[in-house]
Amino acid sequence: MIRFEHVGKRYGGRFDALANIDFRIRRGEMAFLTGHSGAGKSSLLRLLMRLERPTRGRILVAGHDIDRLHTSQIPFYRRQIGVVFQDHQLLFDRNVFANVALPLQIQGLEPHEAARRVRAALDKVGLLHRERALPIELSGGEQQRIGIARAVVNKPALLLADEPTGNLDPQLSADIMRLFEDFNRIGTTIMIASHDLALIARLHHRVLKLSEGRLIGDDATVEETS
């Protein structure tokens, strides 16, 4: 599903944010990306979202070199990826329903079909009863769940999350991770950047470890044997 081939990203001609990153994530896999802040987790995700282009190497997603995408194709590429942000990035000027419906609105889905899917996604994250609420009225954990509902509402093949539990307490974090595991169970490929090592250790998924822009660990054993 995702394949990094000797990818390097250099900023300003000198600073290597990422160097010689080489790994592969299979379809339906769930993997964590860890490392200290500044280790290159965000850079890697930005490359995957095609917000930036690698200075070296190739990134293949579903067999396609995403560096070759024409500017006009990028939006359509992004529609296949669900993204969950640390600060959930909900829009506070509209209610929960409208927030979750946003990707479907962008894709131009018929309103009744969109409403059905929004409710399904909200149901999945356990917040169907809050569809009329404004994001500001929700707790941090609920907001993050709405963010996840928005990321999965168009049923993307690939789900990326950048520190999705960064602002949550351990209990809520565990809930959120369980939610990701549920989505992984139905076939979604998931990649989560996180530095919550204790939580990650309990979950027994593949862990890619970054340090100073290099991949220093790829603990794929759990996934291989399962």
Partner: protein
């Protein structure tokens, strides 16, 4: 892409929990939909496009109405910027009408030999009427000329004392072609007619007037361009602020796959609405201003013995004003959003 994607859901299906029972079929279709938009079908895409246009047109109106005073200020600024070139254009347009009237009065006066008898003069007048390039010829006999002269100068007594009429008979000729060049040529030809003493034409002032009108036209054009640019700046600046205010929204929708057109749309509608509002205000103010000026202008014209009404915009002019103001607003929105789309890079 779709070919190597399809197997995965099938493999995964046995592992699905009951909670996701509704998902498998759509999951299979879904990933293709985003990348290959023809899957959605031309028709439904077009409907979605129309739906978004309607939604954004409405949404941008609601946003304008949420801060009525600010919106009104912007529209008023646009309106005022539009009024000046419009008013100048209207004035010029009516001046052109005046000019046309003057051209009709661009006539030549052919002074005849003083020794000519009245009957001969009448013959001369009718022969001039046949002359090529002459539209009309009116005889002013020596006696008539005397009366006009006396009235104009108030010299009745002085001239009476002369006893004899020193004035020649004259024929006032209206040329067919009133362009300065043609009139000049006609005057030369008429001067060669036997027993014509002199041909007078006073076109210099007409020429000057025409030059002035041309100057006015260019001035209007320059002002129009300048103030049109002003409208662009006003709208651009306003839209720039709302782009700033909605920066997060733009970033988020860009990240989840919105095209530039999608992002741009609400702002283009805002721009167009601002333009429409500004155009309507300009139209209204022009109407009110015209009414307000009409009484003194008419009185002034009457004192010169002329008939002149303050020009107003006809429906074509009004339509042109509104369409151009909407277009300017739209364009202002376009420029502002495009400039900022480049700047805004998510996170």
């Amino acid at each position: 892409m779709s070919a190597d994607r399809t197997p995965s859901p099938n493999q995964r299906r046995p592992r699905q929990g009951s909670s996701s029972a509704r998902q498998p079929d759509t999951r299979q279709k879904k990933p293709r939909r985003g990348a290959r938009s023809q899957h959605t079908g031309m028709n439904s895409q077009l409907r979605a496009w129309g739906r978004h246009h309607r939604a954004m047109a409405l949404d941008s109106v609601q946003r304008l109405m949420r801060r009525p005073l600010g919106s009104l200020m912007t529209m008023l600024a646009i309106g005022i910027a539009l009024i000046l070139p419009c008013a100048l254009w209207l004035t010029l347009d009516s001046a052109r009408l005046l000019d046309a009237g003057l051209e009709e009065s661009a006539s030549l006066t052919v002074y005849l030999d003083t020794t000519m008898e009245e009957s001969e003069a009448m013959q001369m007048a009718s022969s001039l009427r046949e002359h090529p390039g002459v539209a009309a010829a009116r005889l002013v006999t020596a006696a008539e000329g005397m009366v006009e002269f006396e009235q104009a100068l108030g010299l009745e007594d002085a001239l009476m004392r002369l006893g004899t009429n020193p004035l020649p008979a004259s024929i006032v000729v209206a040329p067919l072609d009133t362009s300065p060049q043609a009139v000049h040529e006609l005057s030369e030809r008429l001067a060669e007619v036997p027993r014509v003493d002199e041909v007078r034409l006073d076109l210099a002032w007409l020429e000057r007037l025409r030059r002035l009108a041309e100057l006015g036209q260019r001035l209007t054009l320059a002002l129009g361009v300048l103030f049109g640019f002003g409208v662009l700046l006003i709208v651009g600046n306003t839209i720039r602020l709302s782009v700033e205010n909605r920066r997060q929204e733009i970033e988020v929708v860009t990240l989840i796959g919105a095209t530039h057109a999608f992002v741009r749309r609400p702002f283009l509608y805002s721009g167009a609405w601002y333009g429409l509002g500004g155009g309507l205000l300009a139209w209204l103010l022009l109407g009110v201003g015209g009414q307000w000026l009409s009484a003194p202008v008419q009185a002034l014209a009457q004192s010169y013995g002329a008939h002149f009404t303050v020009p107003g915009l006809d429906w074509q002019g009004s339509a042109a004003l509104l369409v151009s103001s909407i277009l300017l607003g739209w364009l202002g929105g376009w420029v502002a959003v495009n400039r900022h789309l480049k700047e805004i890079r998510p996170r």
